[in-house]
């Protein structure tokens, strides 16, 4: 067979090869994204995502969406521009969460004995589905950045509240009031995660009184819009193909 001849001899064979290629690419994409996104999220979100006593109503709500919209934006841009496939955000988050769960179960629980109910990861899937949905329905990266980025920030806290609310039930402990999450952090000793790092509610301006989480979520959504724009350019750049003229070789 010469180089100019096709590798397949029938349409059925071409379809079969194409599907095999689909699965190979998807498999590779899933695990490459899992690794890269996981490292990125561990380094930038870090402890805010590791422990229940760090999942607060101010900084966690702000930090986690901002640092986590990065890979979904880039992969969405790549898959949309090249293939019109609107599952970039979901495939990223599914990969991240699989990696996170393996990490939390094998490392946090298996090696260092922290109970899983203390170190489970944050849930990012609602934001990812909506981000992909908006891209599909609008067909516009700009609208996805503005509406999807905002939704990503706004959905984060309510998407996690059913999981963390039981840990915000108060308890009286040796004459002090804590939440159950605080008590987990106090009971299950971490040598490198002292209590003072969690002191984030500083400042006297409380226009919205005790409703801190919605304000943080809106702020997070606004910044997520900017981060989406920035990272979708990375995705576009990564998805671009540059041909070199044979004369220049």
């Amino acid at each position: 067979m010469s180089a100019s001849q096709s590798a397949v001899r029938s349409r059925a064979e071409a379809v079969k090869v194409s599907r095999t290629f689909d699965w190979m690419i998807l498999f590779t994409l899933f695990f490459v994204v899992l690794g890269g996104y996981h490292i990125h999220y561990m380094l930038t979100g870090g402890d805010w995502d590791f422990w229940t006593d760090w999942k607060d109503r101010r900084l966690w709500v702000t930090v986690a969406p901002i640092v986590s919209i990065t890979f979904p934006a880039a992969v969405q841009a790549c898959l949309w521009y090249r293939y019109r496939l609107p599952f970039g955000a979901v495939v990223c988050v599914l990969g991240l969460l699989l990696g996170e769960w393996v990490n939390r179960y094998l490392n946090f629980w298996g090696w260092t004995y922290f109970p899983v109910n203390f170190c489970f990861p944050s849930n990012l899937i609602p934001g990812a589905i909506v981000l992909d949905g908006i891209l599909l329905l609008s067909g516009s990266m700009t609208l996805t950045a503005v509406l999807g980025g905002l939704a990503w920030g706004l959905l984060f806290y309510p998407g996690n509240w059913p999981i963390i609310a039981p840990l915000h039930v108060p308890v009286e402990y040796n004459g002090m009031m804590m939440t159950l999450a605080d008590l987990q952090g106090y009971n299950y000793v971490r040598t490198g995660t002292p209590e003072y790092i969690r002191m984030v509610e500083k400042g006297t301006l409380r226009t919205f009184g005790k409703d801190v989480a919605p304000v943080s979520a809106f702020f997070s959504g606004f910044v997520s819009i900017i981060i989406y724009f920035l990272w979708h350019f990375f995705g576009r750049w990564f998805a671009s193909t540059a041909f070199v003229s044979s004369e220049n070789i």
Binding site: K55, R82, P158, I163, M177, G192, P194
Partner: protein, 414 residues
Amino acid sequence: MKLLKDKVAKLSFVALLAATSASMLYTPTAAAHGEKSQAAFMRMRTIHWFDLNWSKEEVKVNDTMTLSGKFYVFSGWPETVDKPEVAFLNVGEPGAVFIRQGSWIGGQLVPRSASLELGETYEFKVLLKARRPGDWHIHAMMNVQGGGPIIGPGKWTTITGSMKDFVNPVTTLTGETIDLETYNLENTYFWHALWYALGLAWLAYWVRKPMFIPRSIAIESGKSNTLITATDKKVGMAFTAGTIAIVAMAMASTNEKYPITTPLQAGLLRNMKTFEMPAPTVTVKVEDATYRVPGRAMQMTLKITNNGDSAVRLGEFNTASVRFLDSAVLEDTTGYPDDLLAEDGLTVSDNSPLAPGQTRTVQVTASDAAWEVYRLADLIYDPDSRFAGLLFFFDEAGKRQMVTVDAPLIPVFI
């Protein structure tokens, strides 16, 4: 030749697999916490731990033990570490092998950070409940904001029994008694599984159709509009609206189920009660101090004046949790960890009782392998090569007084 090459390649591959598997499966227990690698000046010139007591050496799962003692916040705190204005009393242990049921400084519970004063002594206690069987090195520890963890002495403690029996019951302010070890676990798994399934469903909808090559060809040939169908948009609408609806409903039902919740608690405790040590009547001036590298010994020339009304003798030099004792004056009966105790490590050129009103200049030598083992000799490579420690003098009635020393240290290499 080819056969031989194939065999070598095959055997190499098997060896590589075996080595990889062995290295993955061999996970020995982490026994200590890098305390020896912490800069010597940080251990010598920040928090001085003394009178430490580990109430038990062997504990059953669910039983408790206490780690108690005192710490002196060194007045000559180094500039390279932030002052302990925000500090957290911690425990150094390999994972949550014990849970911390309570910790107190000066009798006050300290689940939060505390502000400590330089030059003051504090009494502390940590109540620990055994959770994971094994032999564990349990340290006193202080985290200082801007400084990091400052680790104190550690002692091997054995936990017996089975972790399966461990329970951590807590009664909430809403009247419910729960086991914090497993509480909320099913709820966590349920929500994560549900959302993961929804994510997979979204992915499955798209991957059931041809993906990369045909779609790429379509876009290249200007037919990108044909790739998203009306059904796709309806499905996208359903997923988007459904997601928002599930989030809203789940939030509402959670608020109904848990009407009383509070934000995470954090804060700083000030005005911690200090421990009043007897006022020292002995004054000590360090004339010079050298560290003899080949002999693993530190030598100080001290000018000691006794301003009290009873003769005194030097019994102990304590630095970086290593205790150098003159056994003729003091013997340890507290079960202090052997590796941190030099029972005859302190030599004084003239340690006869120093009478009231008398001044004497003596050569004090603190020698032990601990200088090397605990890497205290590395002090000579620190950015501020000073040593510091506590001297304990004893009068004729056995009363103890504590004097601090803090001076430059000159290494001697020959």
